[in-house]
């Protein structure tokens, strides 16, 4: 039966996340936007110690899954609608600060890749570290200088040499890459081809841990927004990893490999959409409060022809955000209920990335010179929002996926 309302106990749980967003993230939001490349150590420790908050890694309640895999079978294995809940909590935390959210020590996108492509043994071997010891990060490295959206064209190679894989290539735009492999005992999941002649089928993913010989973080980018999050370039020069660091099967099959890896996106795109929605809601909440304080009414129900321009703008921001959230929750819910969500995940990501970019731009416009000033966080949200329209598949790539699916085309017919 159609019902888009969260259960009361979930709402209660979200309040806890909201408190973290409001009391832990917001107070340092501007500071770590200005102090790019500096480490918010206190924040890392707080988040790491609040272990339940570390669960918000893309890929969901990792500890729950580890327990299911035998590490601690007595405890319940996490909520039923895991992906949906992850979207809801992600929204709360990104309402606080999207950059800090991305810098939160947890298994991150690397964990999501392990969850999607790894064996049960690999999951517990690689992910256990995120439940113990010092703060750690997981990252994923796909993008290269000559290939972004076209991830099937990656040049990085992995060649077998005895009981090791030897990786060669350079990865860029790796979110959390420096913290994953230089500043903690985390790992980066690297996508590389084991057989160029096999095309997409030859692409495999490898877990490369801190200290792997031949791996080096060569630069950390300066960015428009989400500055608290590190974005690394990593060079792999004859980097050697043990054979069992290849996720899943080494066999090159037409129906496997790349396809499995792409399935990661079906889980992560709703989460990135939820990130966008969190940033958008920050701007929307700010404007709502601002209008109230300045006695600008927002009159629901009156003739749309009598609305002021501000009311129209505000209502449009509000409904676009709601639409994006419903599309996002649907995509996550489908994953939770075992339905294929490739189309819906791209719909959500395309919509959320676009509308939140527009919503935050409109928020700056409505506030005029106040909006443009760095005294307020609104301009920062506009800068932060933009990344959601780009990473985990640009707006255009997601539109392309939606188009292919609704037209019944493959990538040969529509490219």
């Amino acid at each position: 039966m159609i019902d888009f309302e969260l259960e009361p106990q979930v709402v209660e749980r979200l309040k806890m996340y909201h408190m973290v967003a409001e009391n832990v993230m917001r107070p340092i939001s501007r500071e770590y936007d200005e102090r790019e490349h500096e480490e918010p150590e206190q924040f890392f420790q707080t988040m790491w110690q609040a272990q339940s908050l570390a669960d918000v890694a893309p890929g969901g309640d990792l500890k729950g899954d580890l327990k299911k895999d035998g590490a601690n079978a007595a405890k319940p294995s996490g909520p039923k609608l895991r992906n949906l809940l992850t979207c809801a909590t992600t929204e709360e935390l990104c309402w606080g600060d999207a950059g800090l959210f991305l810098s939160t020590p947890n298994s991150g996108l690397g964990g999501a890749a392990v969850m999607a492509a790894g064996t049960s043994e690999q999951k517990s071997r690689f992910l256990k570290r995120f439940t113990e010891g010092e703060p750690k990060w997981g990252a994923m490295a796909i993008t290269e200088a000559a290939c972004g959206s076209d991830s099937a064209a990656i040049q990085t190679t992995a060649t077998r040499d005895g009981d090791h894989w030897v990786i060669n290539g350079t990865k860029i735009f790796c979110t959390g890459g420096q913290r994953a492999v230089e500043k903690s005992d985390g790992f980066v999941v690297v996508w590389a081809t084991v057989d160029k002649s096999a095309g997409r089928a030859g692409i495999k993913s490898f877990v490369v841990e801190r200290g792997a010989p031949g791996m080096q973080v060569s630069r950390v980018e300066n960015k428009l927004g989400i500055r608290a999050s590190d974005t690394a370039m990593i060079i792999f020069d004859n980097c050697r990893v043990p054979l069992d660091h290849l996720l899943g099967s080494a066999e090159v099959r037409k129906d496997g490999g790349f396809k499995d890896a792409m399935a990661t996106f079906d889980a992560t795109r709703p989460i990135v959409a939820a990130m966008a929605i969190g940033v958008g809601r920050a701007a929307l909440d700010f404007i709502r409060e601002f209008l109230r304080e300045n006695h600008v009414p927002v009159r629901y129900g009156i003739s749309p022809r009598r609305l002021s321009a501000i009311e129209r703008d505000f209502m449009d921001m509000e409904v676009q955000l709601k639409a994006a959230r419903l599309l996002t929750w649907r995509a996550a819910w489908m994953l939770d209920t075992g339905k294929r969500n490739n189309l819906e995940a791209s719909m959500a990501k395309a919509k959320a990335g676009l509308v939140v970019t527009q919503i935050t731009q409109k928020a700056v416009e409505i506030l005029g010179p106040l909006g443009y000033s760095r005294k307020l966080l609104v301009e920062k949200w506009m800068r932060d929002a933009k990344i959601n329209d780009i990473f985990e598949g640009t707006q255009q790539i997601n539109m392309l996926i939606v188009a292919r699916r609704v037209l019944g085309y493959g990538n040969k017919e529509l490219n």
């Binding site: 039966m1 159609i2 019902d3 888009f4 309302e5 969260l6 259960e7 609608l81 949906l84 629901y300 129900g301 009156i302 003739s303 749309p304 022809r305 009598r306 209502m315 509000e318 409904v319 676009q320 709601k322 639409a323 994006a324 419903l326 599309l327 929750w329 649907r330 819910w333 489908m334 819906e344 719909m347 395309a350 919509k351 255009q396 539109m399 392309l400 939606v402 188009a403 292919r404 609704v406 037209l407 019944g408 085309y409 017919e413 529509l414």
Partner: protein, 369 residues
């Protein structure tokens, strides 16, 4: 508990009405738009689906099915996917039946609903809109004044569907002071009451098969039994939320019609040796249509689910309907655009959907759930 699935029953209704719309209503849409007439045989056939009678209680001869705004939205979308004018026509009796079912007195329910539960199509309607550019649901100028135990209703209404063939018109009028949705009453007005005058059938840019009329009310004297809900009156805000959800759902139906037609056309039509759907400029338009359809539908279902839980859903339904109205226009516009010159020709249905879609943000009160 979050759930994006329909109930089995709702899915069955969706499939049944959807198939009917595709096979029976759609082929009749263009001829009806050109001639201005909907064949009586088709209307009778749609009446057999029991879409009006369904939710009426067994005590008045209805089927006694549970009324649900979500189910209502599904029916409205599916029928409008066939044709908007025919959908509004066939569901118009709900405009009288549902407010009385929900908020009428027992006596009103017995009196008004019984004829509407009869077999075959029984026309009935409601008069809400007024012929002013700035008409809004919260500032009706049609007035209702007490005259002892009676009421005197005066004002001008427009866009009243099926007014000429309906025995009873539900007339919304402002009875007292109050901001927003307060102070509005609904009156059961026999069409032949003294002081009620129908204008000529209206001519509009779209919805040409739907017979709508201006209705003038000049000092129409009504007894106390004409006021829906008796002394309690109505919850006007809730009725308008139901109306917005119904009309918004119809917008989704029109969007879906335009989307499917454009998708199929673009896969057939070749330019430069390949189907135009293989060009990103066209493919992205089609992807946008698909996203907007789902977005609008989810917003409307959210408002409908709120209504089913007993909330008035003012904000939700307002935002959702306005969103669906804007999206429908864009989708229909893009459908014409994607077909190019052919989209402008009346041989294809997209120009009709474009004209029909324009109405969603200009009109109100033509549907309910």
């Amino acid at each position: 508990m979050i759930d994006f699935d329909l109930t089995e029953e709702q899915q069955m209704i969706r499939d049944t009405v959807g198939a009917f719309a595709r096979e029976e209503i759609r082929p009749a849409a263009r001829p009806a738009d050109e001639s201005g007439d909907i064949p009586a045989a088709l209307i009778a056939k749609i009446a057999e689906l029991g879409l009006v009678r369904g939710a009426l209680p067994e005590s008045v001869g209805g089927d006694g099915a549970e009324r649900s705004a979500v189910t209502g939205a599904i029916v409205a979308e599916e029928l409008a996917y066939g044709d908007l004018a025919i959908a509004i026509h066939c569901l118009a009796p709900r405009l009288l039946a549902y407010p009385i079912l929900e908020m009428g007195t027992d006596a009103q329910r017995a009196r008004i609903l019984k004829p509407l539960a009869a077999s075959g199509f029984v026309a009935a309607t409601a008069a809400l809109m007024e012929p002013r550019w700035d008409f809004g649901l919260t500032d009706l100028q049609t007035s209702a004044k007490r005259d002892g135990a009676n009421w005197i209703v005066s004002g001008a209404k427009c866009g009243v569907p099926l007014a000429a063939e309906s025995e009873t018109i539900l007339v919304y009028a402002k009875s007292g002071a109050g901001e927003g949705f307060t102070g509005v009453e609904a009156f059961i007005v026999p069409r032949t009451s003294a002081g009620v005058t129908l204008g000529d059938r209206e001519k509009s840019m779209g919805l040409k098969a739907l017979a709508t009329y201006e209705v003038q009310l000049k000092d129409v004297k009504l007894g106390a039994e004409a006021r829906v809900g008796g002394d309690k009156g109505i919850n006007y805000s809730r009725l308008m939320s139901e109306s917005r959800v119904g009309f918004g759902a119809m917008a989704v139906g029109v969007m879906r019609a335009a989307f499917e037609y454009t998708r199929d056309y673009a896969k057939e039509r070749k330019a430069f040796g390949v189907p135009i759907a293989t060009k990103q400029a066209i493919a992205f338009m089609i992807a946008d249509m698909a996203i907007e359809i789902d977005a609008a539908r989810l917003l409307l279902w959210e408002a409908a689910a709120q209504l089913d839980k007993g909330a008035d859903a003012l904000e939700e339904s307002y935002l959702a309907k306005n969103y669906a109205a804007a999206s429908a226009l864009r989708v229909a516009d893009n459908a014409v655009q994607a077909l190019g010159g052919h989209g402008y020709i009346r041989e294809h249905p997209v120009e009709m959907w474009f004209r029909n879609a324009r109405g969603f943000s200009a009109l109100d009160g033509l549907a309910t759930v």
